[in-house]
Subunit: 315 residues, 2 copies
Amino acid sequence: MPLSEFEIIQQIFKQQKVDRNDVLSGIGDDAAITSIPEGHELVLAMDTMIAGVHFPENMKPKDIGYRSLAVNLSDLAAMGAEPAWVTLALTIPQSNETWLRAFASGFLTLATQYNVQLIGGDLSRGDLSITIQAHGFLPANKKLLRSGAQPGDLIYVTGTLGDAAAGLISWQQPEQSFAYLKQRLTRPTPRVEVGIALREFATSAIDVSDGLIADLGHILDASKVGAKLEIANLSLSLAICEKFDLDQAREMALSGGDDYELCFTVPSRKEEQINKLANLCQIARIGTIEAEPGLRCLLPDGTHYEPARSGYQHF
Amino acid sequence: MPLSEFEIIQQIFKQQKVDRNDVLSGIGDDAAITSIPEGHELVLAMDTMIAGVHFPENMKPKDIGYRSLAVNLSDLAAMGAEPAWVTLALTIPQSNETWLRAFASGFLTLATQYNVQLIGGDLSRGDLSITIQAHGFLPANKKLLRSGAQPGDLIYVTGTLGDAAAGLISWQQPEQSFAYLKQRLTRPTPRVEVGIALREFATSAIDVSDGLIADLGHILDASKVGAKLEIANLSLSLAICEKFDLDQAREMALSGGDDYELCFTVPSRKEEQINKLANLCQIARIGTIEAEPGLRCLLPDGTHYEPARSGYQHF
């Protein structure tokens, strides 16, 4: 007999190790009740993941659970916020206990790692879809938005780009040598610690979900500036270089989405602050903000490069 | 040409009259930033509505927008919270401007009425589904949960019950005489003002979404008590009595969901406080909390009554 909604919540999703002091009433009432630490603001990010649209239908439930939370924590990271609690609206075709336990295990593993408590949500019947709202804290007046980039600021990006797009293209490849790229798609690392450090000195930030060109474009639009991007400075993974030729890898690094790395800008006088982040992850300086609107991509020989496509179109 | 995601957000959902001081950064970044008034706690409710599951596929988009928000504000009401902001995860089969404008109009009409600001969300492509998270404030230590009912407390319910279930059964009836019942399904009234008043003296509350028997059952389970329900005291609308025989109307009032009225308990010594709510809406005293577990439904002649079904089963 399939588990009822009540049993799913009690036996699967309430089995979480995190028990935060600021959660005054969690799962099980009409709504949750929480408190915010004094002197802090609340940051709220919401993302929906639909099977067959945002991830391959046959992705493992454990990975779906992990990834759904990761992309939301990534949004908090891009704001410089420290994650606190999440709510989960889970729509599933039927009550399948094995699937649900695997999904919850991936989800709760990542939640526990960041001391994030699941405080509520909704469970519905329908095509597989996951909407998560993540909540985090930011000390007052430490906002890290898309709109603060200034001409002369340096542009950085964490990690390597293009891997998730390469993982998606290789999704049906059975060889073990594609495992790293596929894992970059299924288990993105939310750059939470980097985001928290950045709020002290970065002028803008965004997470790379639609592709670098598109997401850096959002910073440029919001900040009313332009940029020069030095393509040679992009970091590529060994795996993508082994499996794809350089032109393909470059396209995926520029226009492929789903890496959930952070792209951010820093005033040039604060450049040395970046060194302090070196212990958290690899960070590449990829360009400069300019007053002239538009994005100019430069190849190492100084010639302009026009990317083939410019990011994921939702409609 | 269909509107892009950016255009939908800018041209339709950002056209809202509400502009709250506690929203520090709203729609348009990786996440929203807000502040909570001092001495207050945050209440968070999340609900998903799926076409064909939670509402008829052919419900008007304006009504879908209104109802989706109403059911979330109803959850806040059941906690005694004052609504503040919402996020919206909207999944639509295609970018249809007419549909989107109608949906947003219903949604924003209700939002404006309660000074609720839309601060973010996500827009995806897929079968029609709406997940909303509503946020409200509660003064510290004014929690109104399901778990506070005590033996001897009186049980009340706002408004009339069964109308939404009757509206659903009559959904395909073209006659104007069914309009009231259908409107109770499409445009439920969140009992926000009643909820805010109740937090001062009620011991428990819930909103009636799955049916009175089921939802009162949640209060009894959470409070570890039982209850006697006097069926003759239930309020029925004139419309339901005109269109259905009394047995059917009684069943719908007891087991039909979607009315979004509040069911709550009050210590008998505070009974007179209920009179102060009379200007807000009709309130009926329908029973008494008892120490003995279980729910006993009594007919006017004192005989026991067994409802035919006990609420909506999600799985």
